[in-house]
Symmetry: C2
Subunit: 232 residues, 2 copies
């Protein structure tokens, strides 16, 4: 029974994690355990186990008398996450040594970014953009060649993903990514550093803007999220 339970709670954890970091379950939304147990056709125990693991990952918070909620990050928390990300990522870039095989990968990524831009312009679908985003930043972290730094970054990754979905800076991010890749390909590492810091600061500002608006007017449906986006 223990093994089955564990695997159930892990599956539920994965589904909820994707809904939260993918911004389908919005920050501040109350999580109804009974409803989830019915949806997944399981008892409440594995749902509760999954939620407790999500608390450790900072994606869910609990109000002891009231219940579980999707984590609603404060401005200060967003700043702290982005600050640590900036420290790790700029360090990795400063240390990075891009060889020819890395440069080939970056050129291929540049083409994928062009494609992501076309898809986003045509259908408003940011899926491919998100993929290129993860690939570029992941590659920079890889270049740190420090397994402990990579591990720490991976732990932050859910939160970074969540923040990424909050901001609507797709077109500007695409341009910033292109500038960053061009600087690396040209060997202008000092420029690359500046472009990266500037890009990460803008991502931070974008997240704070959206999430602060959401904190002021807690939302539970995607209809009201659209209002927030429109208000921007």
């Amino acid at each position: 029974m223990e093994v089955v339970n564990k695997s159930l709670s892990e599956q539920i954890l994965e589904i909820l994690r994707e809904r939260i970091t993918g911004f389908k379950l919005k920050p501040g939304t109350r999580i109804n355990i009974d409803e989830l147990a019915r949806e997944f056709k399981v008892s409440k125990t594995p749902v509760r186990d999954a939620l407790n693991k999500l608390i450790e990952k900072n994606l869910v918070e609990v109000n002891p008398r009231v219940g579980y909620y999707v984590k609603n990050l404060t401005k200060k928390e967003i700043e702290e996450i982005c600050e640590l990300r900036r420290v790790l990522e700029t360090y990795a870039l400063r240390k990075a040594n891009f060889n020819n095989s890395d440069k080939e990968k970056l050129k291929a990524l540049m083409q994928k970014i062009d494609q992501a831009e076309r898809v986003y312009k045509k259908k408003g679908d940011r899926h491919l953009f998100d993929e290129t985003d993860r690939e570029l930043h992941g590659m920079i972290i890889q270049k740190s060649e420090n397994r402990y730094l990579k591990k720490v970054f991976l732990q932050l990754f859910d939160l970074i993903n969540l923040l990424q979905h909050t901001h609507q800076r797709v077109m500007s991010s695409i341009e910033e990514h292109r500038k960053l890749i061009r600087a690396i390909l040209d060997g202008n590492y000092e420029d690359a550093q500046k472009i990266l810091i500037d890009h990460l600061s803008k991502v931070e500002a974008g997240s704070i803007e959206v999430l602060t608006l959401m904190r002021e007017k807690p939302l539970s449906s995607s209809a009201s999220l659209k209002k927030v986006k429109a208000a921007k």
Copy 2:
């Protein structure tokens, strides 16, 4: 039963963690599950659970066919741990804003360091020195005022503790700590940065020296450890 088991394995985890980070169980030592189960008067399950959690914490490694061992860090791993530590700690110091209450704490710490020096000189007991070490570096990390950075540092802490016990730089570390505190108290933050970087690099070099020697001649008794120390 599940609750009792959990608490048993957590207790065993704590005991083994202390033995490893306190350098009583030396790197490379084989861990005998049967022996530990007899010592703690428990079944093998909670011992194995504790060891598996210690693997996650990078303090134990497993060789699937042979068994569990106290983690024997490679030179590259020590460099990576120390590098990440340096990135986090120098960032925290750069950002730190020491107010009057912090300065009072640093003055009190300076007196404790004097005391630690006397105890170490008289009895060779480094317990008090280790305490002042943790207090000073912990205070710098606190001043980052970033809960995610603190969390990451805390995760590294067992490994930092382990490395700290490997090097025999007590007297030099005491002097370096004094210089660092003096620079902060004098408001020479640029000097403080340089002193911190220099200190952490020396700690790294000291750990690499001892642990590399130990890797070359795997040890299991403290008698043979003394030989390594003498060889230095």
